[in-house]
Symmetry: D2
Subunit: 342 residues, 4 copies
Amino acid sequence: MIKVGIVGGTGYTGVELIRLLASHPAARVEVITSRSEAGKPVAELFPNLRGLVDLDFIEPAIDSYQNCDLVFFATPNTTAMSQAEALLAAGIRVIDLAADFRIRDIATWEKWYGATHACPALVEDAVYGLPELNRDAIRGARLVANPGCYPTSVILALLPLLKNDLIDPASIIADCKSGTSGAGRKVSVGTAFCEVTESVKAYGVPGHRHLPEIREILQTLDANADLVFTPHLMPMIRGIHATVYADARGPADRVQAVFESFYRDEPFVDVMPAGSHPETRSVRGANTCRIAVHYLEAANKYVVLSVEDNLVKGAAGQAIQNMNLMFGLEETSGLEAPGMMP
Amino acid sequence: MIKVGIVGGTGYTGVELIRLLASHPAARVEVITSRSEAGKPVAELFPNLRGLVDLDFIEPAIDSYQNCDLVFFATPNTTAMSQAEALLAAGIRVIDLAADFRIRDIATWEKWYGATHACPALVEDAVYGLPELNRDAIRGARLVANPGCYPTSVILALLPLLKNDLIDPASIIADCKSGTSGAGRKVSVGTAFCEVTESVKAYGVPGHRHLPEIREILQTLDANADLVFTPHLMPMIRGIHATVYADARGPADRVQAVFESFYRDEPFVDVMPAGSHPETRSVRGANTCRIAVHYLEAANKYVVLSVEDNLVKGAAGQAIQNMNLMFGLEETSGLEAPGMMP
Amino acid sequence: MIKVGIVGGTGYTGVELIRLLASHPAARVEVITSRSEAGKPVAELFPNLRGLVDLDFIEPAIDSYQNCDLVFFATPNTTAMSQAEALLAAGIRVIDLAADFRIRDIATWEKWYGATHACPALVEDAVYGLPELNRDAIRGARLVANPGCYPTSVILALLPLLKNDLIDPASIIADCKSGTSGAGRKVSVGTAFCEVTESVKAYGVPGHRHLPEIREILQTLDANADLVFTPHLMPMIRGIHATVYADARGPADRVQAVFESFYRDEPFVDVMPAGSHPETRSVRGANTCRIAVHYLEAANKYVVLSVEDNLVKGAAGQAIQNMNLMFGLEETSGLEAPGMMP
Amino acid sequence: MIKVGIVGGTGYTGVELIRLLASHPAARVEVITSRSEAGKPVAELFPNLRGLVDLDFIEPAIDSYQNCDLVFFATPNTTAMSQAEALLAAGIRVIDLAADFRIRDIATWEKWYGATHACPALVEDAVYGLPELNRDAIRGARLVANPGCYPTSVILALLPLLKNDLIDPASIIADCKSGTSGAGRKVSVGTAFCEVTESVKAYGVPGHRHLPEIREILQTLDANADLVFTPHLMPMIRGIHATVYADARGPADRVQAVFESFYRDEPFVDVMPAGSHPETRSVRGANTCRIAVHYLEAANKYVVLSVEDNLVKGAAGQAIQNMNLMFGLEETSGLEAPGMMP
């Protein structure tokens, strides 16, 4: 049984980790920390866990995790970077669900996150935890940078195209739509029910932190890759829908076969039949990224539609998938439940 | 492995059965019938099941189920009553998720359902499948009438009060709020998105079919029991919130302890601490009925708040709980997953 | 042209006042104050008003309103009671949309609002601004206490019954469902989108501030009147649905005619045909309270269904209706727009 | 007083016409036809109109409209084309809210609408009713083709760019998000509450009927104009958000000024300050198209964000704006009400 610690268990990625791990056959949450809620039973904050999780939140401290094999950081950005080193030194492996270790270029990270990186040396050690891209490296990793929610959906939409040289890598536009849980559980007027429901808006058009993350990963595949990235806020809890446009190169008749072949053995990427339109609700609560690819002949463009649950494949589920890989478990362990529909 | 058939797998209770059984360790769906969708893969209609369910819908016919140990009817009312007898004769057990066998008084059933009962003899054999009331009888049953969604939430709110003679049994008012999935997947203007969202309304105030069902069960506990029942339609997919009022009898200071003690050993009824207000989302996707009881001194009334997921404890989950009992499995088998929150 | 000031224009009742007054033929907003947003254009906070409202928020100060004929307080409770006196002394009339002047019994007010009343002398002068009850008094009032949102829907449901002695006045249960805008625009975890949507819950079951308000008004009609009041939070922006139960007295066959006759000349109360079920969306944005009355013979109870838009007839619209009366305008002036459906 | 007839008043554009015209100072609905609801009071189907609209639906027939000055077709496609000629011959002007007269190229229309055009001669006479493009022609028109909801939002986003030669006209991508009311009031599984809420999906990626409409209009401005158009279904009632991408040409520093200047005198197009992100809810119920323009230097692209209420500026409101122009009224008459927020 893998003994797991969760730092910052009061946010949505934290409670989603707890929910998914409650059904995991080979991992058990031993400790959940929260500065603000220390002393309170986890199930008081999240009554869906009543009777299933007996833990109380405890004050975060380095020795809180001493019995753990693995610690997940479900914290705001800049927390993990100041604590990961001590944990790793104690032989505890780390998966950071925030952004501290996702970007290799320290200057880029510091520009977008507005902070000095506390631990640049570790960034090079960290593995970007997208199994479909880095499975082998994740298996051996001590420190995994769990990808952002938007980057997961966009990169998975593009991998088959870039790896098969089917697009102009500089022509990418990713128009993305996200449920509101992506903004986390912190309070703000902008995420209040009456401000979000029955409305749609773009945000961060001039620049969003997930842009440099996507760009850096894409450029490991093709040095010329670049993109326009536009996030939009949707009146729903869970789900990301990425609509990704790129100029086609070469003959387009193989593209459906390329996608199907590329993801044939992937347990968590589902390529739909030609002509399909995936719905975010089809992956609600599931660790699946569901993809359809269209070719528009008149424009000679591909349009890839890619959906995921931002809290699962876009956060906690992918973190558990990474844990499974790091500890030699079945990759799908604890992640087999179907999406909830309706 | 219990071999399961599902009649009418295209509605919301049908797909919920499939979703829950996909994670069941000791039961497997062998056949799913649908007159309208015969020949189509189940996963085409419900893409959340892609990669998890390989079955196609087939035409319903009596011999479709010949290899099954158990058949669930997830059909409209009046279907099961004409087919159950043949299945039982073939040694196949039956759980009807519709209303054909819920009401023992045939005249009452015929009045409320506007049809002649095709199989009154079987009604007497049928066990009302509320485990918290009829656990032992369910264990030995060949035919289980799975309770209605509203009745489950209302009866569970009242059992401790009626069994301990704590209320005037004729004073009950059940003001109930249900998500729209309770209306099923059939199309109608009244359940269209633009008609339901951002609105609340009562319906069936002069009389709703779940009223005689609740009344008959309550009267098995106290011959004088009767109630006013008002259903309301809510702009959400899943969830029932029952707000149940009754005049208190005798001293009220024990009521919290009575509820806690009454449900102490029940795996799927959760009594919250005194003063609580349960939320329907805390049971989304889970087989739990979560209850809080309040005593209003000035009015000398109890107010019981009871929430469930109408598709799970109110339908498919309870049906599987019944299956587990009928086949000697662990009662909680396949039903342990926490609710999905947020 | 009536010159209007609004204190606290950044909340939902404030912006609703501005929205409705923008179409009013005989009143014009001259000044809008806000401590937190002083200096910012109103239309920057509420872009629906771009091009229609040119005002900036200004710091609240007594002389801010010196050119006004009327000041609306759209502030949190306990603000108006410390400022109303000075305004009245300056000859400016006042409508308080908060609760400072709604309850005549000062001890009751102080108990429920947890504060010492700053201005008890004015409470006696204040008129409870429910035109269907106090039209004449409102016409002459200098200070109007605009009713709470729940009280409006509940009292309007009960007026014909109490005034015609058709119910046991001590038997009332008001089970109420409100949209989330009733909680205001202040931020809190409990009103975040991901916490509210797709869920229903009761709150304040042991006691809610609108209970003593309703009770005091009902007792002016019948000294024995009392009620149980249960508010519930709904996943929608606007709308209150009150489901009101009471034991019938005497013959019940006249009740539909009593309601129709009682409200025949009321411009903003609409009695639906017998057997109807009003929907909150039918009054979205409109100053209408729409009512249906049912008699349940078996229980000898009336069930009154009453819907309103909590921000309009439950707050800003009713305040304008009161303004119209106070200033001798057509009562319906500025309030004729139909509800928005869908 | 202009006497108005509405053909097909039971759909969402029909009821929106009635709602808006109820507040119009110079137009009155005289007749509303509906084959399916003939004989029923309009206010029975749409209770928001109780007390405001006294008409019954009547059977559609040519002489139903003999007293009308203007007839709106709020019907499915292919209805207006078979009736418009007779009305025009009788001196009655016509505004078609469906698509029968929007596309001048008959072969294109017939290909996308799968029908033979019944009245090609009239197509040439018809004026495309986008006042910001065709104001003068609309003033003199007998027959106006009211633009589609998506085309309105997309074309208004592009007009200043194309007319000022600021983009490569062949590089346009319009990624559009629409509320569900755009699908109309007809019943279908795909628009049921439980299928739409809490989910997002693209549809019609291989081709949607609004694509040739947009393309033909853009090509009247630049023969080389072409676009990729992707509609998405949103879990909300009203609102379209168009996110429009195009490659910039020439210096980009003037673009904000170009937009502001271009739309300075337009009553219903609102250009937000640089850096803004409009929300669809800011135009809920209003006839406004609200626009923000961003320049992305790295990609040398413009991103235009354009929001409207698909039932108002995208349908009924624009139709009334056209009526106002056709009959020499103030263009804003009956359309001044602010959007409803929250």
